[in-house]
Subunit: 243 residues, 2 copies
DNA sequence: TATGATTGTCTATATCAATAGACAAATATG
DNA sequence: CATATTTGTCTATTGATATAGACAATCATA
């Protein structure tokens, strides 16, 4: 926004309140406001819409936990900044957010042993019919869900890895039980899209929210693939850092 | 989609036709359909909406150049895949998409000489009051805009860089005239958000589209910062590849 | 304690999005 | 050529978004 009145587009398929919510969220992220939002009437004039439309946007952001409204006082900013999540050859989830969040944990949502699909066969260097362990996991920082991952491990080499993950909440720790003391990230593909229904629910986002998806393969020191995975980050909360 | 009926959410602030358009676009990107979309009636049943709602989604994608509808025959896929854009220590825009696109060019949209803002001062190691050259550029592959960048160069060291860029369409080439024969990317921050109005227009996207933003600093072999930049990629067209 | 500023709630109306059905126009196929 | 399939266009109706105005409730402050 920054003086420049945030513009909104009509009959674009995105309701005005949602466009305004997105712009306010972004403005907060780039440090536009100190601790308090301007009054609803001021925002309404700035966007050229009715006060009630702005209220719609604000109530969505209150739902999201970004804002807190207090009658008579104003609307206050609850959460300002995004977390920076590092990506590189030695990316480990559990070490990623050190210093930025006090409490970090991984939660096992579901697991299955199943035949690998074509993409996983290629990524993990398996052969048709080989089984993989699939883990559906959620990662939280300070009690707030940050990311949602689907991971595949070669079933023959890592039987029962789901139990080890469930106990420790960490892939790195679980792999140690299989004598994998070190591993590397071979490559990462990054894309962005609207969150799926399931991800919306798990990450506690509102419809229309964006996720950053990373697809990657981890290999052991002998270059043998050990994990093929897609992680979806809530784009409002996280940015990736490549160095 | 893939058998799983693509689900849509009502009264979410995103119209159904837009949600469906996003899902179809994504399905195409992941190779769901060969060359032709299923008939409108089939899609309508799959999404649980009226045929006219599907038609709204299709007409948006026709507008975008993703689909082409032919009366009596069906709806055909015009453009299928996303481009993979590599990111790393030696990222150069002009070399990024080699082999994936025949024709690549950078276009100078605007330029200015102005005092550096706080963020740029820090990134480029300047002091308060120093001037920078700002370049607003657009990058096209095979005639289709794929990214939009805002770049800052130290004004004292690179006077007139805008002319050199305008001529060559390449930062790497422009820098050579200043005896910068090699440079490195210090770090990259990646985030995703809804495209701004201006980016929507420049990248020829429809409202609600997502951009992947990369913020980075390039340094010369002596570790002196030479460029601070934000590039916005159309998330429908591009994915980033970190290796 | 009176006043102004601000958020919260209600009612009414207008505009846009989505559904429903019917039929025309173009194409593919037996 | 006759028929089925598929996209294109029209009308009517319902439901969700957005606007408008009025006033209540809460808080800060002079």
């Amino acid at each position: 926004m920054a003086g420049v009145a945030g513009r909104v587009e009509r009959r674009s398929g995105i309701s005005l309140w949602r466009q305004i919510a997105d712009q306010i969220r972004q403005a907060i992220g780039s440090g536009e406001f100190d601790e308090k939002l301007p009054p609803e009437m001021t925002l309404a004039e700035r966007f050229g819409v009715n006060r009630h439309t702005v209220r719609g946007a604000i109530s969505a952001l209150v739902q999201e936990g970004v804002l807190r409204a207090e009658q008579g006082r104003g609307t206050f900013i609850e959460r300002k900044q995004r977390l920076a999540y590092p990506i590189g050859a030695r990316t480990r989830f559990s070490e990623g957010l050190q210093g930025q969040a006090k409490d970090r944990r991984g939660i096992l949502l579901a697991h299955a042993i199943e035949p690998a699909d074509q993409r996983t066969i290629v990524a993990l260097g398996l052969t048709e019919g080989d089984k993989v362990v699939r883990l559906e996991t959620l990662s939280e920082a300070d009690g707030r869900p940050i990311s949602r991952a689907t991971s595949f491990f070669p079933g023959e080499r890592f039987p029962g890895i789901e139990k080890l993950y469930a106990q420790s909440g960490s892939v790195t720790t679980a792999l140690k039980s299989f004598d994998v003391v070190d591993y590397f990230r071979r490559s990462t593909l990054i894309s962005a899209r609207h969150a799926s229904d399931a991800d919306l629910a798990d990450l506690r986002l509102s419809p229309g929210a964006i996720v950053i998806a990373t697809v990657y393969t981890n290999v052991d020191p002998d270059e043998r693939p050990i994990q093929f995975s897609e992680t979806r980050f809530a784009a409002d909360l996280v940015e990736l850092s490549v160095s």
